[in-house]
């Protein structure tokens, strides 16, 4: 039975699901229950945040399957051979396109007002990977981006810094220097971004260069050609190899969902990336349309939720490309909240890869605080 490997994996943790029905002693249920859907291991956010960036508690030794969950053995079996891997991926429950899109369309009607809007806007800022990935990028451009990242709104010290800046590997050093002393991380796109069309050695050299220049996070691309031609083992091996090359750096695996086309593929690629050790799975390079969409995010959030159920390991999701308005960003937060749950409403579990989004969020935030509509020129462009 195709689905049996998957079923065994998720059912194995169902004892933990039962446990969720009864809130722990002393825990007061909020008025409308918003407890995390599905299984959450007993790892709490505070525990995660207590660790230095890049050394997440789940990080395994390089080159081995990274699992910290209850079903490590089952996961190892899945990756034991090309055949078992294929069987596992093909056994994942399918995704009905219309149903998935109907679900996010409904969630997009959620109305976020008042205090919850303000809180969400500030959370969005903290989740942004402020990004520039242009051939025309210069040290000067990177330095101004970093200044914006540290203090997104110079007129309001209450605005937190963004999560990270995201640049090409050769500019990591510049960014690192510009961000010195700030909590803002430096993320580098590597592995022959955006196409990924290079030999593995070249990709790994790309990664090592970025890491040695100080990158805290590596955004790799999967080999979509390999994935679409069914060479799943190759994709998995590459993710593992890059994970190893990352050392202590955080690994985000870009699926480039616009090239995978179907949600079934998005789901399989998500699992493949997570099996390979991804700390984050990321929608897009931003160079291919369509980039991030709500239904793609939904499918990926369902995957990380189910992976958590199966393994106890929490993988983050990054949506990137095409998210320009605060309204769009809030819709993503709604999908996060109602799919993976509140535990994913944190910068180490959810990110926005964006550039122009930040200013729209700042504008909306100011409007929310002052009541007056604002003008674009009140905020620096970068």
């Amino acid at each position: 039975m195709l689905g049996s490997a998957w079923l065994a994996l998720v059912s194995g943790a169902s004892v933990a699901v039962h446990r969720r029905d009864v809130p722990p002693a002393g825990m007061v249920l909020p008025p409308a229950p918003v407890t995390r859907i599905g299984v959450m291991g007993m790892v709490t956010e505070t525990q995660l945040e207590a660790k230095p960036r890049g050394t997440a508690p789940w990080a395994g030794s390089a080159g081995t399957l990274v699992v910290a969950g209850r079903d490590g053995a089952a996961l190892a079996d899945i990756a034991a051979s090309e055949a078992s891997l294929r069987r596992f991926l093909m056994g994942l429950p399918g995704v009905d396109q219309v149903g998935a899109e109907a679900r996010t369309a409904m969630l997009a009607t959620r109305s976020i007002k008042a205090a919850s809007k303000l809180a969400a806007l500030e959370l969005v800022v903290r989740m942004i990977d402020l990004t520039t990935l242009e051939g025309a990028d210069t040290p000067g451009k990177i330095r101004s981006l970093c200044a914006k990242a540290r203090h997104p709104d110079l007129g309001d010290a209450g605005v937190p810094p963004v999560a990270a800046v995201c640049v090409y590997p050769d500019l990591v050093g510049t960014a690192k220097a510009a961000l010195s002393g700030s909590p803002v991380a430096v993320a580098a796109v590597a592995t022959a971004f955006p196409s990924g069309r290079a030999a593995l050695d070249v990709k790994l050299a790309d990664v090592r260069q970025a890491v040695s220049a100080g990158a805290d996070e590596i955004d790799m691309v999967i080999d979509r050609g390999a994935f679409l031609s069914g060479r799943y083992q190759l994709v998995l091996d590459e993710v593992r190899a890059v994970k190893e090359a990352c050392g202590g750096a955080h690994l985000k695996v870009i699926l480039e969902t616009g090239e995978l086309v179907t949600y079934d593929n998005v789901k399989r690629a998500s699992w493949l990336a997570m099996l390979g050790g991804a700390d984050f799975i990321k929608t897009s390079t931003g160079k291919v349309a369509p980039a991030a969409t709500l239904p793609v995010a939904l499918v990926m959030l369902e995957a990380v939720r189910d992976f958590d159920t199966a393994t106890g390991r929490q993988v983050g999701v990054k949506v990137a490309g095409g998210i320009r308005s605060a309204k769009d960003a809030l819709r993503y937060l709604v999908v996060v909240r109602e799919t993976a749950g509140e535990a994913w409403l944190a910068p180490d579990r959810f990110r926005f890869g964006a550039s122009s989004l930040l200013n729209d969020v700042l504008m909306q935030r100011t409007k929310q605080l002052t009541g007056a509509y604002v003008r674009a020129d009140d905020f620096s462009q970068d």
Binding site: M1, L2, G3, L7, V10, S11, S14, V17, H18, R20, D21, P23, L29, P30, P31, A32, P33, V34, T35, I37, G38, P93, G94, V95, D96, V98, G99, A100, A102, R103, M106, T109, R110, S111, I112, K113, A114, A115, S116, K117, A119, A120, L123, E302, L333, R337, E338, E342, L345, A346
Partner: protein, 477 residues
């Protein structure tokens, strides 16, 4: 991060509630002659919304007479093209007043504004648009070269989709050249009365639609009236049988849309996350006040535990509360009577040995509420597996093979709806053939469209509403 949605209530200001409403007869709002009055309340707050006339037999007689006159003198003789234009006008005004109607529907019915706004009201307009276009094309509908209307239709509608059911009934009846006396449910009369205003605004000739508000006695007077040529009823199977019995030997035409105990069948190869959504939509949509609800979940035993756990987790994200809050998923139970019925059947479920799980959500202090509830370990003989609960209560049963699923799904006197969840195409088509249900949703649930015929097998009624088929109920064929 703990991130709660702040209240986002839709404004009530758009609704201009009058303290009292009369009957709509012959194009005018009039006081009842021999009737009385009753109060309609907001089920979410128990606040009295308005006082509404209860039509007596003489009032019903006046309404039928007005409808008969209009059918003979204006609406019947009018060209189909002219009738069409009136119905298009009505559809447009419904769209223009959609916000007002949505708020009013949620106030009177208790359903979430998200549903009245996104489903009830836009679909109501869509039904008028659809049937408007048929009015001058009836000779192509497949019911003969010159199909004729039946006459005066007495149309009795339920409280679960007050405006939408009015549209389902009126649009095809009027398109075919009939006139109508409409009897809304006594707990939800208000949107039908605004619809009457809309008919006035559209300039619809007097008497083409008459609205007689009231309870069962008013409906009985309408059914018994000799001037009515056709009865269309949506409601409980018991009342439907009574009407069928009452009409025996009268020659009056009848269509019935009655109860159901729909099976929602989930196979182990289902698109699981969408299936969970479909289960939720199937039974918790409109608080489960849906005749075609997927109230019996038949899940393949190999994934039953997983499905139930995922379902419970999902149900905890449902937001129960103020129907006017745009983020509310589950609104109020329509009436204390219905709440009592749901409560009683749920208690029977426990007493008969099924395992009850209720979403741990806080219920508002006032109003009528029932939290989303699941019963597992349900046996096919339990009352909660056989009787229509008409509330947010799901009974979970398991099966092993497709044959067993079909056998269990069909093991009911009803036959309105069924759901199938599997990614295997040939199995979907086989199941769809085997299921004795008028509507089969495969990999979706609770979808409605004016072009799509809807109606039951067996004790779920007869006749179809929607689509070309829906015209047959109002043509003398």
């Amino acid at each position: 991060m703990n991130w709660e949605y702040a209240p986002a209530p839709e404004s009530r200001a758009i609704v201009d509630l009058q303290p009292s409403y009369g009957l709509f007869i012959d194009g005018e709002f009039v006081d009842p002659g021999d009737g009385s009055a009753f109060k309609t309340v907001n089920p979410a707050t128990e606040e009295v919304l308005a006082e509404v006339a209860a039509a007596g037999p003489a009032d019903v007689d006046r309404a039928v007479e007005a409808a008969r006159r209009a059918q003979h003198e204006t609406w019947g003789p009018m060209s189909g093209a002219e009738r069409a234009k009136y119905l298009f006008r009505v559809a447009r005004i419904l769209q223009e007043r959609s916000r007002e109607l949505a708020v009013l529907e949620s106030l009177d019915n208790g359903k979430p504004i998200r549903e009245s706004r996104d489903i009830d009201v836009p679909l109501s307009a869509a039904y008028f648009f659809y049937y408007a276009g048929w009015a001058d094309k009836l000779e192509y509908a497949g019911f003969g070269p010159s199909p004729q209307p039946i006459g005066v239709a007495g149309q009795i509608i339920p409280w679960n989709f007050p405006l939408l059911m009015a549209a389902w009934k009126l649009a095809p009846a009027l398109a075919a050249g009939n006139t109508s006396v409409l009897k809304p449910a006594e707990t939800t009369p208000l949107t039908a009365l605004v619809l009457a205003e809309i008919f006035q605004e559209a300039g619809l000739p007097p008497g083409v639609v008459n609205v007689v508000t009231g309870a069962g006695a008013t409906g009985a007077a309408l059914v018994a009236h000799p001037g009515v040529a056709k009865i269309a009823f949506t409601g409980s199977t018991d009342v439907g049988k009574g009407i069928q019995r009452e009409l025996a030997g009268t020659g009056k035409r009848l269509t019935l849309e009655l109860g159901g105990k729909g099976a929602n069948i989930v196979f182990e190869d289902a698109p699981l996350d969408q299936a969970i959504e479909g289960i939720v939509n199937g039974i918790y949509f409109n608080q489960g006040h849906v005749c075609c609800a997927g109230s019996r979940l038949l899940v393949q035993e190999s994934i039953a535990e997983l499905v139930v756990e995922k379902l419970k987790a999902r149900l905890q994200t449902l937001r129960l509360g103020d129907p006017l809050d745009k983020n509310t998923d589950i609104g109020a139970i329509n009436s204390p009577v219905q709440l009592e019925k749901i409560t009683e059947l749920a208690a029977a479920g426990v007493a008969e040995g099924a395992e009850r799980w209720t979403s741990p959500c806080a219920l508002p202090e006032h109003g009528f509420w029932f939290p989303p509830t699941i019963f597992t370990d349900v046996s096919p003989s339990h009352r909660i597996a056989r009787e229509e609960i008409f509330g947010p209560v799901l009974s979970v049963l398991t099966f092993r093979t497709p044959e067993e699923a079909v056998m269990k799904a069909n093991n009911t006197p009803y036959g309105l709806s069924a759901g199938i969840w599997t990614e295997k195409g040939s199995r979907i088509l086989w199941m769809a053939q085997q299921l004795r249900a008028g509507v089969v949703w495969a990999n979706t649930f609770n979808r409605f469209d004016p072009t799509s015929p809807f109606g039951g097998y067996r004790e779920s009624g007869f006749g179809r509403e929607g689509g070309r088929h829906g015209l047959e109920a109002y043509l003398d064929v």
